[in-house]
Symmetry: C2
Subunit: 282 residues, 2 copies
């Protein structure tokens, strides 16, 4: 397995790989890898001739009062895991390599998706995401790039960005990987105390309840979100930020639930912010 630290080396290598006629799969991560990431890696290994995993905690997507400094980092362990998985290349640049002094060009999603939910709570977050993903696409020149459904809004914004800016990369969204009790795998789960960890699956249980209500015929999104509120309210240590039944493409709240809806929840568990979502079809 090769490890590149500079954009220049990574770029030269990916261009050479493409010239040699090999396809490249990219799995962009912020490290502290869990089974969710590894499922993306597996998908890439199964469909691309060369798999690049990027590990970069992207400062541009963290707000000033967010957890950039304490975000979990464990590069050595990540590298060992990826080596075991059969990954070909790890791209692990430093922040100053990706955002050198004088950096000033951003990729800005505008006029829709980035305004709601995570975008409303985390201003500038999706600008940071779109910018770093555009950079990673240019550096690694992938045929395919793999993202997890847990970050549903991020997936939609990246798909739109790739389409709008004509990146010739296929964006593949993989299902959320969960713990046995339903909690979505997330690097941020490591922040949770034992008690918080025990309480956190209430988010998934609320999504399951929403799914059951809708499958049983509930068409009123307000009725569904009211039940989610109650359920999260009953769970100790959880503090709901939002619960919404939205259009799966626009993420705008629906007035009446149709054949496909996306239920999204964000909640604080102690000081940790967790998000999850479920696509509900009937």
């Amino acid at each position: 397995m090769r490890i590149f630290k500079t954009a220049q080396e990574m770029s030269v290598f990916s261009r050479k790989t493409r010239r040699d006629g090999k396809s490249i799969g990219l799995v962009p991560t912020m490290g502290c890898l869990h089974e969710g990431h590894l499922s993306l890696v597996k998908s890439s290994l199964g469909s691309s001739e060369l798999t690049v995993v990027s590990i970069f905690v992207n400062p541009a997507q963290f707000g000033k009062n967010e957890d950039f400094d304490k975000y979990p980092r464990n590069l050595e362990k990540d590298i060992a895991l990826l080596k075991d998985s059969g990954v070909d290349v790890v791209f692990a640049p430093e922040a100053v390599e990706m955002y050198p002094e004088g950096f000033l060009t951003f990729v800005e999603p505008q006029g829709g998706l980035e305004e709601v939910l995570e975008g409303e709570i985390r201003p500038g977050h999706f600008r940071g995401v779109a910018t770093v993903v555009a950079k990673l696409f240019n550096i690694t020149d992938p045929d395919k790039a793999f993202f997890g459904q847990k970050d549903a809004q991020q997936c939609l914004i990246i798909k739109k960005m790739a389409q709008d800016l004509n990146f010739s990369v296929e964006i593949l969204i993989m299902p959320t990987v969960r713990e046995t009790d339903g909690l979505a795998k997330s690097s941020r789960n490591s922040y949770l105390s034992a008690k918080e960890r025990k309480a956190a699956p209430a988010i998934f249980k609320a999504l399951q309840m929403a799914q059951h209500m809708i499958e049983l015929g509930e068409n009123n999104p307000a009725a569904v979100t009211a039940e989610i509120r109650k359920m999260i309210g009953r769970a100790k240590l959880l503090d709901l930020e939002y619960a919404v039944v939205a259009d799966p493409e626009t993420l705008r709240p629906v007035e009446s639930i149709g054949s496909r809806a996306l239920a999204l929840i964000a909640a604080r568990v102690g000081t940790t912010r967790l998000i999850d979502n479920m696509l509900i079809e009937r």
Copy 2:
């Protein structure tokens, strides 16, 4: 010569070209080609195995009250010229192909170069430029891209954009091509009446004068711009918008002229807006 109208066809063709190991030179234009463009074409033909010329009047870089509608278009003549020049591929999309309904991702230069001169007078102009050039880079996958020094600020912003977003393309800036009386070649020169056309070279003459003053030892930019103002003021039909002696990298006005300075002028000739500049070294 091949002509592509869709990003999809162009993209497939350029990927195939790169896979075949051939280098691609891109000359982005808004059409209505003149000798300035053809000098870029010649540079590309001389240094790349395949030359793509894009012809696209980019709505995103025109302000609401600017000349998008009347901007000169002459696709048939352009195509004939390019065919004669030996160009391999013309990419000539419609506006709806580049900006389909729901387009919402822009590339935004921020925090510097885009704020001054043209950026101050034409808000959003460089956002439009950076966005379309990023799109063209992704669609045509060039090794090299050629731009004219006449649009000095555009050149700097595109270089910065390519660097910040890690496009693996070399940006080459070619000298301004001029009429025999010194007027910089520009598609907008076609707007000029005979009288205006006769008056317009005063812009170049003012730049030459600035050059002579500086070469003779003038260090005070205010003294130089005062003389430019006088000279443009004396020329009938000309209305100065800005005249500045700037740092060639940051485009900020210099306090004292050093070994390299960029003199930039924008002026209206009747209703036509013309820009020009000269790099002065001593």
